[in-house]
Symmetry: D2
Subunit: 346 residues, 4 copies
Amino acid sequence: MDKIRFGVIGLGRFGEVHCQALSNLPQVELFALCTRTESRLRELSEQFNVPHRYADYRELLANPDLDAVSVVTMWDQHAAPVLAALDAGKHVFVEKPLASTAGECDAIVRAAATASCFLMVGHICRFNPRYAAAKREIDAGAIGRIVSLYARRNIPAEVSRTVLAKIGPIVGDGVHDTDLMLWFTGARIETAYAQTLSVRNLPNPDIGWTMYRFDSGAIGVCENVWFLPQKTPYRIDERMEIIGTDGAIYIQESAASLSICDRDGWRSPDTTYWPLVDGHRGGALREELAYFVDSILRGERPGIITPEEAAASVKACLAAEDSAAKGIPVRLDGATVAEGPPVFSP
Amino acid sequence: MDKIRFGVIGLGRFGEVHCQALSNLPQVELFALCTRTESRLRELSEQFNVPHRYADYRELLANPDLDAVSVVTMWDQHAAPVLAALDAGKHVFVEKPLASTAGECDAIVRAAATASCFLMVGHICRFNPRYAAAKREIDAGAIGRIVSLYARRNIPAEVSRTVLAKIGPIVGDGVHDTDLMLWFTGARIETAYAQTLSVRNLPNPDIGWTMYRFDSGAIGVCENVWFLPQKTPYRIDERMEIIGTDGAIYIQESAASLSICDRDGWRSPDTTYWPLVDGHRGGALREELAYFVDSILRGERPGIITPEEAAASVKACLAAEDSAAKGIPVRLDGATVAEGPPVFSP
Amino acid sequence: MDKIRFGVIGLGRFGEVHCQALSNLPQVELFALCTRTESRLRELSEQFNVPHRYADYRELLANPDLDAVSVVTMWDQHAAPVLAALDAGKHVFVEKPLASTAGECDAIVRAAATASCFLMVGHICRFNPRYAAAKREIDAGAIGRIVSLYARRNIPAEVSRTVLAKIGPIVGDGVHDTDLMLWFTGARIETAYAQTLSVRNLPNPDIGWTMYRFDSGAIGVCENVWFLPQKTPYRIDERMEIIGTDGAIYIQESAASLSICDRDGWRSPDTTYWPLVDGHRGGALREELAYFVDSILRGERPGIITPEEAAASVKACLAAEDSAAKGIPVRLDGATVAEGPPVFSP
Amino acid sequence: MDKIRFGVIGLGRFGEVHCQALSNLPQVELFALCTRTESRLRELSEQFNVPHRYADYRELLANPDLDAVSVVTMWDQHAAPVLAALDAGKHVFVEKPLASTAGECDAIVRAAATASCFLMVGHICRFNPRYAAAKREIDAGAIGRIVSLYARRNIPAEVSRTVLAKIGPIVGDGVHDTDLMLWFTGARIETAYAQTLSVRNLPNPDIGWTMYRFDSGAIGVCENVWFLPQKTPYRIDERMEIIGTDGAIYIQESAASLSICDRDGWRSPDTTYWPLVDGHRGGALREELAYFVDSILRGERPGIITPEEAAASVKACLAAEDSAAKGIPVRLDGATVAEGPPVFSP
């Protein structure tokens, strides 16, 4: 078996986690790293024993031996390296959200549609065994037609502080649940209404609440409070409720399975997304990267998350942010919401 | 100690529960019952050994020995007996929602303000020890200023079927959490945005979701799905999340404390609101009735729930229903919601 | 309605809680207090406005106007005041465990059997609505014949430190679950095997584990760890699992329904046993005292907890402590456990 | 990278799950299958496209191209194929419990110690991310010295019925938690006391409860009720509580993270041990097999579970079964338990 030669573009904290997960995949060779910060580049290259180092992603993409890249830059710096990588014939794994504007999303979707190589967006929740089981049950008809969804994805204020300089809670985390709701319902979102609240006067609001209306009639609500108290015993409060005409599904990640009380207090560490197992990064992150790598090795376009789906989630979140700014509901087709009873076009 | 002579007006299922709870209070004599259904009147009068029976509440109110009444008629039939009782100088305990229109609410509030006797509305959750503890903590400053609230109060479709002929989920159950949110925040609601979905084409929608904006800036969301699947193991899925600037409070009534698995399945019966304890109705219902009776005996106006508060909750829920019908947010002060960033007037 | 004139003997922390609960019962007049500590006697008498004060319980019992007493002394000082009170014709409510030796238990049971007045032991869990519901379900046959029981009743080390000077975890807390297991099964305990561990070298061990064998064949296990870490977010970790031939019941008090996160951390205060509701002591403690008072007023011997039952629980716990000391199982009938397959005599 | 050529011996339900997990590992070629049941051999060989088929494991082991085997026969038929495989120079993965007698365990341990190839026992819980996190925390000193452990591992009666013909709950499931307790404490078990109850008169008892004493002084209790009611909403009720001198750890697998309510009822499927993810067997089973395969490829003896550890767990469980048969505690060193206070030799 040949190994996939992988490059990682963007070496922040999560870029490092990607390095850990990729270096733990037997089918992958961690081949190249890229960041503009020289010291960080050296540090991680040495730590993971990576032969090729670049300050400019265009040079990295020019390496003919490279097979694939993972783009872990800030979300508003996804589009350029992703488009360049596709153009260079490299397979691309890019973190969510796909991009920061609808136009960039469209450009990437178009490029991916005609590219010979694959593009997959890191909607990691689809590789969480709970959501995966939910999808399987829904597809098997266990709960009938979905009529109501609720998602909570809240994080402590101290974790969000620096993130809020770059992205707000509705896109930053709500895009996970927007994606899951679209995946579960198989419907389109017609309108978004959202409210936000700035508590700390950071560049983005601390709190976002979104209410979606799907063209199937279903109502979906996303809670994104990036302002949980300091002593919160978990890094994320993550729940989902899916109610259908014949059943319901409830998912709770937060603090449900593991609690540790030590001298400092009560806490529930992650055992789902990127836990350390035997010193290596396991969990859903490794699953999704392994799935992407297997898709490449088999030569089959990854089917679990398509670029179109990833673009649709971003657009819905941007509409929600638009609604929060305007104080009124926003239609995703660009039309004005008129007063009158809601009309569905299923 | 003299006993309070109590009458019950309205003898549906919940009227009977009131009879059970009142007859278990040592300070109360269950003195008179009233319903237009003769057989039911006879049945309950005999069961609870009640001396006085009436088909017309006006005749009941004319009984000079009666001290107080509990009004347990349908919500759109509250106003007339409540106003008449206050006029007749009887203390009045009335079930929530206070009344079915803003006008009726105002009329009752005015009548109560000048009446010599007391009016208390059955916002039973205030006597749930969990919400009571939350209020105490909030008042003590444990979580700082409230910035976000979420309440879930969902019930199985089979339980709601007959109720939906008379009342919808936003007022029918959302009024509980609207009241609690107003109580906890001490703020007023500025706008309501809501969506509803009719699954069964009953007179009221099966599902209601409401997003409130408080004049303090806080956002409050109420989930009222009256359409849980048949095999749901509890009669209510009831949760609340209160997030403040310095802390957070989480309440979960549903299935948290008691689960029973028998030949028929898994279930979690009520042990909070009106459980049977030693064959008698205990729980929060008895607590609130005992509190009302003690207030009468002490001659102190009940302070835990005021008529004004009860009226404010109804008006907010009616605004939410109005929003759901119109598809746009509704201001509680009657003004039109204009496009533009939300403005708060704290 | 005449009021019951009540005296409280023993004014430690829990004696004060009794005062709070009794003074909140409309059928009770808090009439007399007794403790040898003069300052405490004065403090609580003034706080609760109690007319009669005694340093010696015998003088208190000599008051002819007194109807009933609550004995809240240390468990090894229960017998004398209880026997004297019964002899003086006073109704007696005594905290659990009934007494500290089998002989004292027997003496009290005999005295209660011939007394004109009533004796009730404060096995408060029977008034917890969850255990009460469990008992009702079991009696209704919902889970068939009980075959296995597990109870956890753990408390933080800092809470138990002073208590361990006087009583160990197997009797101190295990007596609750021993009582509940006897109540639920309706069986007798044949053997007890227990192990204890002293971590802090206090007069009693910090940890006790007991395995009972009932004459019905059922196995019952009690976990009593009085050594939970300092940052434990609740004052008690209390659970019970009851498995029968046709079903099962699960009870969880700990942290299930209410969690508060404030500046100091995460915690789940009591909302079951003696919560403050509207400034008054409510919960199961008030329920059991109200039940006792109602029994007196009706002139009916309290049936929910009999002296014989309370004595049986103490004896089983003492046998468990005996087993822990000896390292072998102990038969409750005093015979030696012989090697050989267990024999039941149902 | 060369692939490991793997054979599976024993093709019951769990042998098939092994085939699914192994065929999903990129470093593995599923190379040979073995069972005496011809139709089953054909069915699975075709399903997984396995080139070599055997009715006799000795013939399978004679294939010189085979690198490793997975032994998934009944526990009392582990020893012969495991010893033969080690003798044939094949790497061996064998399901838990290692073997059915202490003598067989010792023989396997001896053979593994001198073999050139590796032996690993499928104590799958060590690859459950929750237990793995617990171990990491314990080793890091988060909870200090362990003083008390409790494990529950209960399964529905209908699941255990056929299994109970071959193995009882104390060894069948208790061996998991016995292993975890030994792993977590790093101590040896001094005594075992156990009780069992036969409800259905099957070859093994339905219920087993075990109380261990460790040489560190810690007490460990295992609950193994293979008799949960039919309507139990999960396939396993799995919990663990680990209390140390400085902290505590709580693990709950059962129903904590995912609940599904459909037309048939409420249920919580496995998302930890061998869930289907994207149609493939994922979870802890794949993790442990991947770890074993990686160990082979790296040429490093697997360190997470040693043969000695697996043997110690079996011996402790057999001692517990011996205790249940005799009605008295049993010392693991073979000495008789004498009456007298427990003595530790830490």
